[in-house]
Amino acid sequence: MKITAAEALIKALEAEGVDLIFGYPGGAILPVYDSLYNSKKIKHVLTRSEQAAAHAASGFARVSGKVGVCMATSGPGATNLVTGIATAYMDSVPIVAITGQVPTGVIGRDVFQEVDITGATAPFTKHNYLVKRAEDIPRIVKEAFYIASTGRPGPVLIDLPKDVAETRIEFKMPGKINLRGYKPKVQGHPLQIERAVEEIKRAQRPVIIAGGGVNSAKAEKELMELVEKTGIPVATSLMGIGCFPQNHPLSLGMAGMHGSPRANIAITEADLIIAAGVRFSDRMTGKVSGFAPKAKILHIDIDPAEIGKNVRVDIPIVGDLRVVLSEISKNSTKKDLYEWYDFIEKISKKGVYEKKGMLCPQEIIEVISQKTKGEAIITTEVGSHQMWVAQFYEFIHPRSFITSGGLGTMGYGLPAAIGAKFANPGKTVINFAGDGSFQMNLAEMATIVENNLAVKMVLFNNGGLGLVRQLQEFYCDGRYHQVNFKFTPDFVKLAESYGIKAERIESRKELPQAVDRMLSEEGSFLLECMVDIRENVYPMVLNGSPINKMIGG
């Protein structure tokens, strides 16, 4: 029996195990929504903007380890997805985005709500498709999920013209897919692994830098195994946070621009760096020539293009982290690193702040960290608050810190928290936001309420754009410009208007009880904390400095 391609799309999604789609309808994607109406397996979550749908899919994917799916109509719907797609691309998050497109016959004529979304997203999708033949739908869906989730994960877009969606076809799910040009390498090269083992044997000041790749490859056990076998300490990138428990004695904390002195100095003094699934972004390396100047660098990544892209590499290994790390540990033994530990022990593990005057964001995060014992899933927006969360919340579980590291997208956190809560309803989900970021996607409080999600929102209200203000302090001689809001709404009333419990605190002594109330509240909760915009993120590595030259550390 023939069915429409739109129905085939839904069937193919079901066959891929999709049970949740975040989206927003419109004319060009009408046939797909009509088919989705009949699906018993797939729940659709209507967000309040397409960007939020893409971020929610991304939060869902990062917490669940599955592929997140979002959907939008053509034109403005599709362009609203763009920020979410680019965010997912930069952080290697597997999502499949489905967009409606105007009918094939009028493509290219600038008709109502037409935009070339495959062209627009080509630079920041792992792959994308404009579906020209209805029969191709099942194959394309299968390929899209395969490409998104294998190798280095990333977003894939499927653009479906309306007339193609309405065409009737015989539905047949394809068997094995074979993409000649896409064969991710899983096994590491045995000779290189041997060399790695040798270097590890020889090293006296080794450091592992674990990146987001460990989280996405779900290689935390293999990482732990290597650490326990060898005794090598671990620093993480921002994206790697959580892949190694921060309460472990060998955890150095986060490295890089706002990293811990311990991680940054250890890296600078190291004689061997084992970089696992980390892409050496400029935020991690600081001035590249001053990065790990004494070390041989062993770089393991599933994406060969990352190796040697930003820093010189002595031993490159392309492969899946789980496989490669366990191959390496198999042949490694415990090292005597006591001198190295002694050296490291003397360097401070955390940034410092002064607990006086107004309530400090750092202490709020510390209190929440203690009270949740690292068991919550934390999402953040982008700004100072994001860096403080990275520094002061003690993460012990992989995939529990969900933040936009690569693109640095304000407005990411709240919708990502929605996705996270769907992925793991049993866990406490907390979004930390600055008042700037919060205002970018606060309409998603409606989605939270509509879906009975208990999302906790901690809002640091400093009346402006703190991190940009800090940059202006350092780089523009304190000429503060466009970083203070002249108007802000009453956030407590705003949350209450959505039916969400909310509270505002201004003093230190209110803090513990307020956090208790937030955490014990069954539903969502907004905790607005009045903080000082002059509070800077320290330590900080200035532009053009190596990472061991930190100020305020």
Partner: protein
């Protein structure tokens, strides 16, 4: 430094723009790019001449390989390969200059493919040096229009660049 890359790609719409887009986005310089189908109609072959040092060429290769529609990227060594470019040149050909131009064309084994009262079109294939030399010689007569295809190249001897379906990487 110039490097010749031979790139086998799926003959799908949009692949050329993806490849070209990659160059502009990553700030790589393309010297020339020539595309056509291969003996297998499903596969096209692009010959790309890249300007840049070893690091750049390595990056170009790796980034190209990341594209799902790119099947294979190979470097063509300039000493062990045949490379050609086709050029059409429309020159001013006053009757008094005509025989001289024809003579030059003969020396270069170029073909005269169109003649009118005041101009001719000359077709020439060859490597870059030959084409440049020819261009210099006819320039004094006046070049009205010139079009080059960009380089295509192939390794000498039995070595081939082919899709190996069994290939592991």
């Amino acid at each position: 430094m110039k490097t010749i890359l031979s790139v086998l790609v799926e003959n799908h719409p949009g692949v050329l723009s993806r490849v070209a887009g990659l160059f502009s986005r990553r700030g790589f310089n393309i010297d020339s790019l020539a595309v056509g189908t291969t003996e297998n109609p499903e596969i096209s072959r692009m010959t790309i001449v890249v300007e840049g040092d070893e690091y750049i060429v390595e990056q170009v290769k790796k980034q190209l390989n990341k594209l799902v529609d790119v099947i294979k990227v190979s470097k063509i060594s300039s000493d062990d390969s045949v490379s050609r470019e086709l050029v059409l040149i429309k020159v001013d050909a006053e009757p008094k200059n005509r025989s001289e131009i024809i003579q030059i064309a003969e020396i270069f084994r170029a073909n005269i493919v169109d003649v009118s009262r005041r101009s001719m079109i000359i077709e020439l294939t060859g490597d870059k040096d030959k084409i440049n030399a020819f261009e210099e010689l006819v320039r004094p007569f006046g070049i009205k229009e010139l079009v080059r295809t960009g380089l295509i190249a192939m390794n000498r001897g039995p070595k081939t660049i082919k899709v190996d379906e069994e290939e592991k990487d």
